[in-house]
């Protein structure tokens, strides 16, 4: 079961970056794990890492527009959480979701093409970085409005129970999102109606420049389900196996008990809030912690696997090369994909065709001659 202990270290007010949480020693023993699965987790985490690095570059080169938020530093959470979801389970996320999209089964090509705004993108170029969506793999949206995904995910869980299904809904969000009205309203409804949903708070200690302590009167976020009698747990989000185990327990309980649960996973946001944010508001100490190898989930897992002999220098290189190639291929694919044609501008206003729908371009009069 998940670690519900408080993170160690001095979490002083106004400097949540100041809590130096050491990795828990109660992480699952590698000896009990299948090496194949371990390597697969590692490969997938590395894929998210390299994909996001490439995304950052492409953004700086103006291949990608709009806002762009990366999962750098959150790879263990992304992979740990998604590894326990069945294909039939649903996932809703915020706008920091490229990694989740890939991990839930979308192709890196489709995700990168969405970032490039091409027709081959998972949302056909209509959504961009913040709005990945794929009916087939059941990631029903990244959402750019903070908290927007919470009622929707809750409603998806309602649909599941309405139909008597046994799918579970997972709803990811950031720490800052626990202060918006939709949080309170959604958790209350989910608990009242016994909905099979796991709310996951990815606590990277900050929403933009605001620390958890600045924004949340109860900074122990996993406790914040208690007002709704929703059981909450906290896990070290730098440890992919710990996240996996915590999430797996809650997802299966949501399924079997038909109840909502809350999971908080903490890890560092390695860069600014978005690609353009230099994060100047961070103190020197906070910046160092966010960069520290000891807090880097990919480095932590890699070292563990190397030490245990699950990963050798050779396989490491093999995996690294393959991942690089996959990311390069995704970027090539995106680059060479077509831009949407202007003639498609009115294709998605309504699902049911309707009389008198406006299809006027800005320069056209309401009544043409």
């Amino acid at each position: 079961m998940a670690d519900t202990a408080k993170p160690k270290g001095g979490g002083t007010a106004k400097s949540s970056g100041g809590r130096r949480q050491n990795r828990k020693n109660d992480s699952p023993d590698l000896a009990d794990e299948s090496p194949k699965d371990l390597l697969d987790h590692y490969r997938r985490m590395l894929l998210v890492r390299r994909f996001e690095e490439r995304t950052g570059q492409a953004y700086t080169q103006a291949r990608i527009g709009g806002y762009c938020h990366l999962n750098l530093g959150e790879e263990a959470t992304v992979i740990g959480l998604t590894s326990v979801l069945d294909e039939r389970d649903y996932l809703f996320t915020n706008y920091r979701e490229h990694g989740y999209a890939i991990a839930k089964g979308m192709s890196p090509r489709g995700v990168m093409a969405e970032l490039y705004g091409r027709t081959t993108g998972v949302s056909r170029g209509w959504g961009g970085s913040m709005h990945m969506f794929d009916t087939e793999t059941r990631l029903l949206g990244g959402y750019g409005i903070v908290g927007g995904q919470l009622p929707l995910a809750t409603g998806a869980a309602l649909a599941v129970t309405y139909r008597g299904g046994d799918e579970v809904v997972m709803c990811q969000m950031g720490d800052g999102t626990t202060n918006i009205g939709a949080w309170h309203e959604s958790l209350n409804i989910a608990s009242l109606w016994n909905l099979p949903i796991v709310y996951v708070v990815v606590n990277n200690f900050t929403g933009m420049g605001t620390t958890v302590e600045m924004a949340s009167a109860e900074p122990d976020l996993y406790k914040r389900g208690s007002a709704f009698r929703i059981e909450g747990h906290r896990v070290d989000g730098r440890d992919v196996l710990a996240v996996r185990d915590a999430a797996s327990g809650l997802v299966e309980r949501a399924r079997s008990e038909q109840r909502p649960f809350l999971l908080e996973a903490y890890s560092y946001r390695m860069k600014g809030h978005s690609v353009v944010d230099p994060a100047k508001y961070r103190t020197k100490e906070q910046a160092e912690e966010a960069r520290d190898k000891a807090n880097d989930p990919v480095a932590i897992f890699e070292e563990r696997l190397l030490n245990a002999g699950v990963l050798t220098e050779d396989t490491k290189k093999e995996i690294s090369d393959a991942v690089r190639e996959e990311v390069a291929d995704a970027a090539d694919f995106a680059e060479n994909s077509p831009h949407p044609d202007v003639s498609t501008l009115f294709d998605y206003t309504y699902a049911t065709p309707v009389a008198n729908e406006s299809k006027r371009m800005p320069s056209e009069p309401v009544f043409a001659e």
Partner: protein, 332 residues
């Protein structure tokens, strides 16, 4: 006079008003430690401290409502809502409370507050982050809605809004923050709320805009002047109250009008202007009033689609020329 950006004009005015009046304080997301999502409040936390520059949790309904309550006790909060899209989470407090408290309690207490918030498409932010929706607020009696198109107006209107005793929405624009212009260096002038401006005189046609589209309208007028077309530009400045007289007077003189707005057409601000023109200048109209507005779709992310959906200098120019053709004057 000094030449500064729209951003700087807002910042300087906030600072000056805070120095002038102890009751003025700032409240909003990321305005302090982060120094503002668009850096309007840069440096102000350092100068004024946490009492006067208050960072909030992500809780639009909560902090906008909190500001309304503080204003009811006579403070003068200046709220920053990060973009107008997020004001939708606070629209209940704005419409049902800020706009109602004065009237509903028989004029016993007013709500002297300002909500500053930028709109503006064209940044590839996608459907939920590219709306303007100023018309939602312009529809509401009890609110005052201002839309400055340049740095001098941004300063003068913000000053007026802070000193006004009613809730004022100051609509900023992402596309204007870096625009530059001459701004007086002292605490003057204080804009008169409810007044449009003729920002360029002309005789052939009236071109009406506000916020970013008012500055686009001026550009269009400048370039059409080279083709010997004399365009009179009206910058609405105040969306509520609306200065109908200035609009009608101009159209009576020119005989035709084009309205440019950065929002959807149906039921929009342009519709209100067009209705005003036919009511006030019917006998003077030589051509139908033309509206240039966004294509009526949730704004797509992909650049070619987004650009096609938004009004631009080109689409405004086309509309002006076609309207003059309808009047009977052959152009381009």
């Amino acid at each position: 006079m000094s030449v500064i950006t729209y951003r700087q004009a807002l910042r300087d005015t906030l600072r000056a008003e805070m120095l002038r009046d102890e009751d003025v304080f700032l409240i909003g997301e990321e305005i302090g430690v982060f120094e503002g999502s668009y850096k309007i409040t840069e440096g102000l936390l350092k100068e004024f401290g946490e009492r006067r520059v208050r960072d909030t949790p992500i809780a639009e309904e909560g902090f906008v409502g909190t500001a309304i309550g503080a204003a009811m006790l006579g403070l003068r909060p200046v709220v920053e809502v990060m973009t107008i899209n997020f004001s939708l989470l606070a629209i209940d407090q704005i419409v049902n409370h800020a706009a109602k408290v004065y009237g509903m309690f028989g004029g016993q207490t007013s709500v002297p507050m300002v909500i500053r918030t930028p709109g503006g498409g064209g940044q590839q932010l996608g459907a939920t982050h590219s709306q303007n929706i100023e018309l939602f607020y312009s529809f509401i009696p009890g609110l005052k809605v201002l839309a400055p198109s340049g740095p001098a107006d941004a300063a003068a209107m913000l000053r007026a809004a802070i000193r006004d005793n009613d809730p004022v929405l100051l609509l900023e624009n992402l596309g204007l923050y870096n625009s530059k212009g001459e701004v007086p260096e002292d605490d003057e002038p204080v804009a008169e709320i409810g007044r449009a401006a003729v920002s360029r005189e002309g005789s052939d046609i009236t071109l009406i805009g506000y916020s970013r589209m008012a500055s686009v309208a001026t550009q269009v007028a400048q370039s059409l002047a080279e083709e010997d077309i004399s365009v009179e530009v009206i910058d609405l400045r105040s969306l509520r109250p609306l200065d109908r007289e200035t609009i009608v007077e101009s159209v009576c003189k020119t005989g035709s009008a084009v309205i440019a707005e950065d929002d959807w057409l149906t039921y929009g601000i342009g519709a209100e202007i067009a209705a005003t023109i036919q009511e006030g200048a019917f006998d003077f109209l030589d051509a139908p009033v033309r509206r240039v507005a966004m294509a009526e779709v949730p704004l797509p992310y992909a650049k070619p689609l987004e650009s096609a959906a938004l009004p631009s200098a080109e689409s405004v120019t086309t509309a002006v020329k076609e309207t003059l053709n309808a009047v009977g004057r052959r152009v381009g």
